[in-house]
Each structure stands twice: as C-alpha cells, then as structure tokens.
Amino acid sequence: MPIALKRSSTEGFWWRWLWLTPLVLFIALMAGTAIGETSIPIETIFKVLANQLFGADYAVDRIDAGIIWNYRLSRAIVAACCGTGLALAGVVLQALLRNPLADPYLMGISAGASTGAVAVAVAGVGAGVITLSIGAFAGAGLAFGLVILLAHAASSGTGGGRGIQAAGAIILAGIAGSQLFNALTAFIITKSASAEQARGIMFWLLGNLSGVRWDNVWMAVPAALFGLIICLWHRRALDAFTFGTDSAASMGIAVRPVRGLLITTMALVTAIMVSMVGAIGFVGLVIPHAMRFIVGSRHTRLVPAAALAGAVFLIFSDILSRILVTGQVLPIGVITSLIGAPAFALILIRGTRTR
C-alpha cells in the first residue's frame, strides 16, 4: 500500500500568515491612537508620525500632536507589549505545568508586585527614592523566588509518579505564596493607608495605563520581544511537554533546565509588565485557550497567534476603558475581565461540544 503523504502544514502556516501580523498590529495601534475622548482623524495621526519619525514638516495642531505622540501612541504600544507578554506567559505555563488554569500570576507575581507597590506608596518604604514600579518589580521578584524555593523543597527527592510532582508543587507553592503576599498587602493597607490611598492602590492593582510614557515603551518592547523569541526558540520543547515531563525527556528535552529557563523568563516578563501597569487579569488565561481553539495546540502556530491576539486584545480593551464611561477612565483589568469571562465561558461550552 502506498504511504499517504499529507503535509502537516504546520510549517507552511508561518509563511502564509506571517505577513498579516505587522499589518494587524499596525491597524490596532492606529485605532488605539485615533479613538479616545477626542477622536483624531487618521490623517492627522499620519502627519504627526511623519513629523516625529521622518522629520517631515506638516502643520498640525500642537495639542493634537501632543495627545498622539506623548500620550496615546506610547500607551497603545505598551498595551500591546503587555498583552503579548501576558499571553505568552500563559501559553508557557499552561504547556509546562499541564494545567489549563495556569496563568502568569500563578507564581505569586501579581501578589508580590502589589505588596511591593503598597509598601512604597503607603508605608513609605524607600523614602521617596524608589518608585512604585521599582517597588512592584522587587516585590514580584521576591515572591517568585520564594515560590520557586518552596516548590523545589516540596518536590525534591520525589521520583516519577510518586509524591508531589514538580508541576503540582509549583502550583501549590504559587497559591501559598500568593496568599501570603495578599495578606501582607491587606495588612499594610489597613494599618497605614487612608481611604483615598487605598482607592488609588486598588485602581493600580486592576491595571492602569494612564501613567504610561515613552520611557515605559523602552522597557516593554524589549521585554515582550525577548519573551517572544525565547518561546519561538523553544516551540518544539513546548510541544514535547504535551504528554508530560517523562515523555518530553524521552524525546530528548532536558526537562529541568528548559523548564527553569522558560518559567524564569516568563516570570521576568510578567514582573516587568505588572510593575508598569498593574495586574491586568484574564489575558494570560483566556488568550492562550482562545488561540488553541482557533489554531490548535502546536506551539509553532500557538506562540505567534497568542502573541498577536494578546497585543490586539489589550489595545482594544484600553480603548474601551477610555471611552466606555465619559469623563472617566476605567481600570483596564475591569474591561479585560468583563470581556474575558464571557468569552472564556463560550470557549468552554463550544470546546466540550466538539468532543
């Protein structure tokens, strides 16, 4: 019998659709720049971009130019990077830990970041020298370190199939670490915060892009690109974890170093994003699942798809957060969860029906 050859098309996928990525991203960025409390015609945006990037000399309204360049464009770029970073972190954690509920904040990162931010903003740690972002980053790093140490202690010495396996240990340690740092946050707030401070912190925790400027862009873009490159480089390793760590090892993956590198990278990317814009929920959980549903679970497709979808989703969530209530900016986390939760429910229902 002749062997039926059918190209699995996984590799061809790249080249057929890759050209769309910059286009979609560009359109989303332009939308993020044009739409807001005052709508700005796309023509004006192009003029401002030409002035800034290529030294052209179009006549534009100074205020419009300021809104576009200093406020909206940088904000849209940072939103895109956060979306990419969080979605990729979700992809990686769900793949490695074999747990569909894994998300970027699983390892205590958001809890640690909020503790750090609160310690700086409310308790006055750092005496005004340390910014909220640095405090949040330090807190995230500390929490992640603790969680990994705990996971290591809980899983060391166990062989395959017996005791707590490494993936389970990380999840349990993450829950313990998050609870600890959430308790610390609540402790600091109740002890020393005024009602107004508490509200400010609350707002920040739910995700807030209004403070974003160009110097944030220079952090966010490299972080997102770094995460993307690491994921793409290890896309086959991520696939090899489909049937668990033993199966990955018997297909030649050095499980411990690869898993350590990927998780640490994603924790770092997440911590950078959280320290800039707060803990934006649901992106890292929903986007990977939604993309798996659309492009399948092989990471050659899933990684680029999730990176793009995360970016676009956050740009549009940010637009909504600015225009939904007139005269007021909602925390972006409220929007992502309001859209994300029903979308997730829909995926769950449709996903089970096709079984």
């Binding site: 019998m1 062997i3 039926a4 050859l5 059918k6 190209r7 699995s8 996984t10 590799e11 074999r98 569909p100 010495g157 166990t158 062989g159 395959g160 199939g161 017996r162 005791g163 793409l232 480089w233 290890h234 896309r235 086959r236 390793a237 696939d239 090899a240 489909t242 049937f243 668990g244 033993d246 199966s247 090892a249 018997s250 297909m251 030649g252 993956i253 050095a254 499980v255 798996r292 549903f293 399948g296 679970s297 092989r298 996903g351 079984r355």
Partner: protein, 254 residues
C-alpha cells in the same frame, strides 16, 4: 545497539524500588521483562531510558556511559513508550507521531520532507494512517497506545523500551504490535503482563521485589517453579500440538 545496566539501584523517600540490577541486551534482541505488580519493571525501564539518574550503578549504550550524554543524544538512540501518557490538549494523531522527530529538529533545523516520510511510515507501521487526522480525545485506549508506539517509531530509535504496550489493546492489536516489535531490526526491551506473550521473546528477565531474579531464554526461565515462586500461581506447561511451542495453563493462585 547494545544496552547494559550495571548494578542499578534506585530508591524514593527511603523505599528501595530497585536493588543491584545488572542486565545486558545484545543488538537486535527482543528482551521481555516480566514480574508481578510493583516488582520494579517500570522503574527499571525509566532508568534504562535515561529519565532518572540511578542512585548507584550506571547504564551504558554500546560502551558509552549514559550519564556522560546529553538528553538529546540519548533520545536519538533510546526511547520509552510509557504505560499511560495522557493529555487534555486538542492534538491530532499525526501531530503526536510527529513529536517523535523532536530530538532531530531544532529551532534552526526545520521540519523536512524526510521527516514527513518517517512520520507517514510510522503511522502505517502502527496501522493508524486512516486516523491520522483524528483528534487525540476521540481515540480509544488501544488506539492511543498505538499512536504512542508510532511516536516512538518516528524517533527511529536503536533501542526501544516499551512499558506494557499491550495493555488496553484488543487481541488482534496485541498480536500485531508484538509481531511488529519483534520484526524491528533494533534492540527492544518490553515489559509484559501476559506470560504467554513473553514466550515469544528472545530472552526474558524476571523482576521480583526490585531485583532481577532470573534471565534467560523463555523456556528455561518460565518453569512451574518460577511461576509458583514469583507469580504465585500453580501452572502447567505443555507443548502446542500445532507448532511445538510452549503454552502455559494457569490453574489457581497459591
């Protein structure tokens, strides 16, 4: 390729699962591993596959100690088909088998036509080519087992380790898998529950309480004494009138 185990010992949390196991399987031999539940067959296969580092002793591939090799190099020669490896991912049969090419690919060495041919052949070998586009979660237990073996074959191993591959299979596929495995021009170590299947191996080894208590040709090893001592059954052994091969008839538990 030859695989040798020298005085392997393995323990977890103080319980000794493997004690002083030494074993050598020559190239192209099919070696059957038998023993009651919990006798250490799976643990031994994991050590032989390089998934765990032995607490004492070592494993050699030809004459090369496994602990000096990278995981990727090991996986280009040896692979293990686990007993029950499951996933909740929506993944197609063809893509599972394609995972077997992982140790030969890298971020810079892309998927090629050659890989495509190998995957197609592996699908054919395990009689799954007509289901290549089915999703994993739609398969039966036996079909999943065959896909896992297909994945291992796509890895083109020189040593194939199989942990009770005939579990979940109907009798037709049990026999076809065993026949396929025996015909492979590579070294095979296979753990088996069905002792009559073990009769078809070139050599077998008997595990008991983490020790390898006997090795040799099946006829010499599977004696009424051994069946009573290790497996706890009274059995008679007689010759099949059709081809003269040995058949076991199990009478009762000890």
């Amino acid at each position: 390729m030859k695989i040798t185990a020298e005085q392997l010992t393995w323990r977890v949390h103080g319980s000794q699962l493997l004690t002083d196991v030494s074993l050598s399987v020559s190239p192209r031999q099919t070696f059957g591993l038998i023993g009651p539940n919990g006798s250490g067959k799976t643990t031994l296969l994991r050590l032989l596959a390089g998934l765990r580092k032995p607490k004492q002793g070592r494993v050699l591939l030809d004459d090369r100690p496994m602990n000096t090799m990278r995981q990727r190099d090991i996986a280009q020669s040896v692979t293990l088909v686990e007993q029950q490896a499951e996933t909740t991912d929506r993944i197609k049969v063809r893509d599972v088998v394609a995972l077997g090419r992982t140790p030969f690919l890298s971020a810079l060495r892309p998927w090629s036509h050659q890989d495509e041919l190998i995957v197609a052949q592996a699908l054919k070998d395990v009689d799954m080519q007509h289901m290549a586009d089915r999703f994993w979660h739609t398969l039966s237990g036996g079909e999943r087992q065959r896909v896992h073996i297909g994945r291992a074959l796509a890895q083109q191993p020189k040593i194939l380790l199989l942990d009770e591959p005939t579990n979940h299979l109907d009798i037709r596929h049990q026999l076809s898998i065993l026949e396929l495995v025996r015909q492979l021009p590579i070294t095979v170590i296979i753990s088996l529950h069905d002792l009559n299947h073990a009769m078809e191996c070139d050599r077998i080894g008997v595990m008991e309480g983490g020790r390898l208590v006997d090795t040799g040709p099946p006829r010499d090893v599977l004696t009424p004494y051994r069946l009573r001592q290790t497996f706890g059954v009274y059995a008679d052994i007689f010759a099949d009138p059709i081809d003269g091969s040995q058949v076991m008839r199990f009478r009762s538990a000890v």
